[in-house]
């Protein structure tokens, strides 16, 4: 189930729990799957120097980012025996408590999904040009850096 053309991974605004639930629902017709593993990135209300993050405003170098997501996807299908893989990332404002990243892998057997999901999430963090402006409650901001 790989495809050659990069898909658009980005969604405007937060990723809703309904969207995630529905995505799980759609996999119930795929009866060769025995294990799903889902990673969700959620915006934290971090306190930094006494100020609290209220949202992150995500931007991206979209063409390059979608190309990188595509390469990560192809590499993961190459390395791991996966039945499906889905990646969604937010652009624009995502408030604290809302979800900005949804990675979903499925396989006949469980051992592979753990390895695959961690591989994909770490690759996204390291290789995909997405930028996050952490907006504080007083509307000042700072730029997020992945650790």
């Amino acid at each position: 189930m790989t495809n050659k053309k990069p898909k658009n991974v980005f969604r405007e605004g937060p990723i809703s729990s309904d969207f995630i639930g529905n995505s799980i629902y759609k996999h119930q017709t795929k009866t060769s799957i025995g294990a799903h593993n889902i990673f969700l990135g959620q915006v934290r209300a971090d306190k930094i120097d006494g100020k609290t993050v209220s949202a992150i405003d995500y931007t991206a170098y979209e063409d390059m980012a979608n190309q990188k997501f595509h390469e990560i996807r192809e590499a993961a299908f190459e390395k791991f025996d996966l039945t499906c893989m889905h990646i969604y990332h937010s652009l624009g404002i995502v408030k604290a408590g809302e979800i900005c990243l949804f990675v979903f892998v499925s396989s006949p057997r469980r051992k592979v999904v753990f390895k695959a999901l961690e591989y994909i999430v770490e690759a996204i963090k390291a290789d995909v040009p997405v930028f996050g402006k952490e907006i504080f409650e007083d509307e000042s901001h700072q730029w997020k850096v992945n650790s």
Binding site: Y61, K125, P129, F131, W143, N146
Partner: protein, 77 residues
Amino acid sequence: MLITIKYFGLIAEVTNTEEESLEFSGTTISDLVNALHSKYDSLKNKDFQIAQNQELVDFETKLTGDEIALLPPFAGG
């Protein structure tokens, strides 16, 4: 040659623009970075990588005239 440069995130704040075209006579990424450091003084303190034609390149890479992007640290997820 005429080079299109994209700026993102913190870097776009420094340059105060997200994209510009420059007439440029240097031959390497390094030459271009030097020119941008002259144009935008506070760029010198900033951490960024360069993509040419959507691939990260090092400073010795030859300029091809494709799209250049200045990318601050990634923060996906």
